[in-house]
């Protein structure tokens, strides 16, 4: 086993463990996974450091596990011949840390909606008894997701007309909307960014065209029933729009 490979194993595992720890500490980990997996990721950081320790021990022991076992995992026949440095494996192993560190951490936003589409019904189902409690939330306290759920579960969405909405989301303006409209959106993440789907509410605001795409805003105003692509969607006739900083947890969790 190549000695340099051992040391790169140590470096990569250490780097990965520290990377995870930093993301956990700074909260950027919330751009990638659902908050309930925090303990799992913490375990991952710890595990990476433990594995780094294992590789370190092997590096200092001169790489031999012991001498009377010949069931090697890797494809070399002679235990003591110098080995080629497995560049491919190292590059692949280093890639997550490199991507994580070199690309500025950003949550999924407006451009991702162009890609993944807006989800009008998807992550809105709620399991079992939680459904009843979720629908009892006061209108001003409803998030974008709560509003979508309420609309989908209600027999007649018109019952929500004139209810006040107070939601935070980012600005998304697909081409089909008029200049005075935009969608206040957020991504809903069940497990990790890979399954993220965007939900949004239609907003009527005269200066919509001047709003920065992907910028975070707080929208307040009365709700009525609007339509997007032929489907009913909550429409907020905005009384006020104020820019807000990106929330610590940009995603919503069903």
């Amino acid at each position: 086993m190549n000695k340099y490979y051992r040391w790169t194993q140590v470096i990569i595992m250490l780097a990965f463990g520290l990377y995870l720890a930093e993301r956990l500490w700074s909260g950027a980990v919330f751009f990638y996974i659902n908050e309930r997996f925090l303990p799992l990721i913490a375990f991952g950081a710890l595990g990476a450091l433990v594995l780094a320790g294992g590789a370190l021990w092997l590096a200092r022991q001169n790489n031999e596990y012991d001498h009377h076992h010949h069931d090697h995992d890797h494809d070399h026949e002679h235990a003591h011949a110098p080995q080629r440095f497995p560049l491919g494996t190292v590059l692949l192993a280093a890639l997550p840390v490199l991507l994580g560190v070199l690309i500025p951490a950003r949550p999924l936003g407006a451009t991702a909606i162009d890609q993944k589409g807006l989800n009008m019904t998807g992550p809105l189902t709620v399991s079992g008894g939680a459904a009843a409690t979720k629908l009892e939330i006061a209108p001003e306290k409803r998030t974008i997701l709560d509003w979508m759920r309420a609309f989908n579960y209600a027999a007649d969405p018109a019952e929500f007309t004139h209810q006040p909405a107070d939601v935070v989301g980012f600005v998304y303006r697909p081409e089909q909307l008029a200049d005075t409209q935009f969608l206040v959106s957020r991504f809903v993440v069940t497990c990790c960014a890979a399954d993220g789907s965007a939900v949004g509410l239609l907003v009527e605001w005269p200066e919509a065209a001047g709003l920065e795409e992907n910028g975070w805003v707080r929208v307040r105003g009365p709700v009525s029933v609007g339509a997007l692509d032929g489907r009913p969607i909550p429409l907020i006739t905005a009384a006020s729009i104020e820019p807000v900083p990106q929330p610590d947890q940009p995603y919503m969790y069903p």
Binding site: Y32, G47, G53, T111, Q115, G117, G122, S197
Partner: protein
């Protein structure tokens, strides 16, 4: 494509990839650590005592063995490889490989949380076991392990008949701390070896997610057959860990047929982009093909059957 547009796309790609990897890596660690511990603490004799010589019965045992090891599909491959080399018959190993990602406490708990006790939960568990054991049983027909496994993964001793010979009992008197360190060393090597498949599979999945609009796939949700095929394709594409895919499937219950949701929950944990690449690190290509096609066929048939014959 302009520079900022490219950077935007790349950022999405990177976020999706890291989401998959950060989520999966801890499970891979669990799997390789379990695998390292199995290597140092389990003697080859242990398996011959538990597991029947009859390869078909062994497949059944292999399928049920998953309940002991709480790993998802990332962690199950290195563990299975370790078990193969410890003497677990291939039929049992394949059954274990396919069933363990579903037949374990964590996945059962999360599926229960998402769907409650009902046809989806029991269907998932029951059908996964059935399909896994059936596929394992098919492998029992091939008596020569060297035709199925890559050379470096063959069990340590194989007699002429293909049955494993029990070696003379070798008493391992290494002190426990030493054993633990050795297990840790093994875990590291396996993490890197299996990890590269995870990375490559994650890259592929993220690439497809970034460049194939989901709306294209999702416009076919109601047909009894097409919905099954679509969700099976989605399961492979999304490559989500079985411990949490129940919550993803929940998102489809409004629009997709139950049969397709079950197929998603059954086939996804068995085969997806990243696990296929990991299989190729253990088995020969022909064997991997069987491991993909047989469960695929059975999952699709099960899904379509349920759609056409039940009102679930």
């Amino acid at each position: 494509m302009t520079a900022t547009a490219f950077l935007d796309q790349f950022s999405i790609f990177s976020t999706i990839f890291l989401g998959i990897f950060i989520e999966a890596a801890p499970f891979l660690m669990l799997g390789t650590l379990a695998s390292g511990l199995v290597e140092v603490f389990l003697n080859q004799n242990d398996f011959s005592r538990w597991v029947s010589r009859n390869p078909f019965a062994a497949a059944l045992v292999g399928g049920l063995l998953g309940i002991v090891f709480p790993v998802c599909e990332c962690g199950v491959v290195p563990l299975t490889r370790r078990l193969i080399r410890k003497g677990l018959p291939i039929s049992a190993s394949v059954a274990f490989l396919l069933s363990a990602p579903v037949f374990n406490l964590i996945v059962i708990a999360s599926t229960l949380a998402a769907f409650g006790p009902g046809p989806v939960l029991f269907g998932r568990i029951g059908l996964s076991l059935l399909i896994a054991v059936a596929t394992g049983a098919v492998f029992a027909f091939e008596k020569r392990p060297e035709r199925l496994l890559l050379a470096q993964n063959l069990p340590v001793m194989t007699g002429a008949s293909g049955a494993l010979e029990i070696p003379l009992q070798v008493v391992d008197r290494t002190p426990v701390p030493q054993k633990l360190r050795r297990g840790l060393g093994i875990a590291v090597d396996e993490f890197f070896e299996m990890g590269r498949y995870l990375v490559f599979g994650g890259l592929l999945a993220a690439l497809m997610q970034t460049f194939i609009p989901q709306s294209t796939l999702l416009s076919v949700s109601a047909g009894p057959v097409i919905s099954v095929l679509v969700l099976v394709a989605l399961a492979v594409l999304l490559s989500i860990c079985s411990t949490v895919d129940a919550f993803i499937a929940l998102a489809f219950t409004g629009t997709f047929t139950t049969g397709s949701i079950l197929a998603f929950l059954i086939f996804g944990p068995m085969v997806d982009i990243k696990s296929t690449l990991m299989f190729l690190g253990v088995f020969k290509r022909r064997a991997v093909l069987y491991m993909i096609l047989l469960p695929l066929l059975m999952s699709v048939l099960a899904g379509v059957f349920i759609n056409l014959n039940t009102t679930w």
